[in-house]
């Protein structure tokens, strides 16, 4: 069985980012409309985002592909240089295109 990420871990990371962003948004809104509907409807927009199970699995796959691509491309460069160990310089060479591709 191929090793990949744990969807639960991915979910935890996503939730953390979403929580951080919703806090930021709340802060912004709080300064924007102080006089506006105070007790009325903060809950509507700040309802937390979720992700379904398959979406998480697919995200795991996407991140896995990102890592395998990084290693494979760096390995290609290392091979071209005739060494059999991937060094930081090899990663440096492939990094720009990798980041453009993902």
């Amino acid at each position: 069985m191929e090793n990949t990420f744990d969807p639960d871990l991915m979910h935890a990371i996503f939730k953390l980012v979403w929580k951080r962003r919703s806090l930021e948004r709340e802060k912004k809104e709080g300064t924007d409309n102080l006089e506006g509907e105070l007790g009325a409807g903060p809950s509507k927009k700040s309802r937390p985002t979720t992700a379904n199970a398959n979406a998480l699995k697919l995200s795991c796959e996407l991140v896995r592909v990102f890592i395998t691509e990084a290693v494979q491309r760096a390995a290609t460069i290392a091979e071209a240089e005739g060494v059999n160990k991937i060094e930081p310089t090899h990663l440096e060479r492939i990094l720009p295109q990798l980041l453009l591709d993902f």
Binding site: T49, N52, K57, I67, V71, R73, E87, H90, L91
Partner: protein
């Protein structure tokens, strides 16, 4: 008072991020090592750490994208379409994700034979995700 509270919140947030990052790193390193072995290459420690960090940042970015896409579609839950959409700039990648997605959909009733097939295919076409 309020400032102190928000500072505390941030510290807590950072501690949590650190914990998740460490767990993430373990997975990332084992994937990278396995991949290097398949290419009959050794891989130096700093490279692996760097790749793990990149992948973590990539996941955070992905989380933001998914949230935006889902909200734009009027949903509060991200689904597979959102994930595929996040890879739309790279057609090969999007195609690969879509086939993985179809496998996941088809997986519920039957076994994981299809998935294995897809993985094998991936192995034989090593670096197919370049934008041509």
């Amino acid at each position: 008072m309020e400032e102190g509270e928000s500072n505390f919140g941030r510290e807590e947030d950072e501690a949590e991020t650190e914990l998740l990052r460490d767990r993430f790193r373990l997975f990332a390193v084992s994937i990278a090592e396995a991949e290097a072995k398949r290419n009959e290459m050794e891989i130096s420690q700093p490279v692996m750490e760097c790749i793990a960090d990149l992948a973590f940042k990539f996941s955070e970015q992905l989380a933001k994208d998914l949230e935006l896409f889902a909200h734009h579609a009027g949903r509060k839950s991200a689904n597979m379409e959102d994930v595929i959409l996040s890879a739309h700039r790279n057609e090969n990648l999007a195609t690969s994700l879509r086939s993985f997605c179809n496998d996941l959909k088809g997986k519920e009733p039957q076994s994981e034979r299809k998935r294995k097939k897809a993985l094998k295919k991936e192995k034989t076409t090593p670096s197919a995700f370049h934008i041509s």
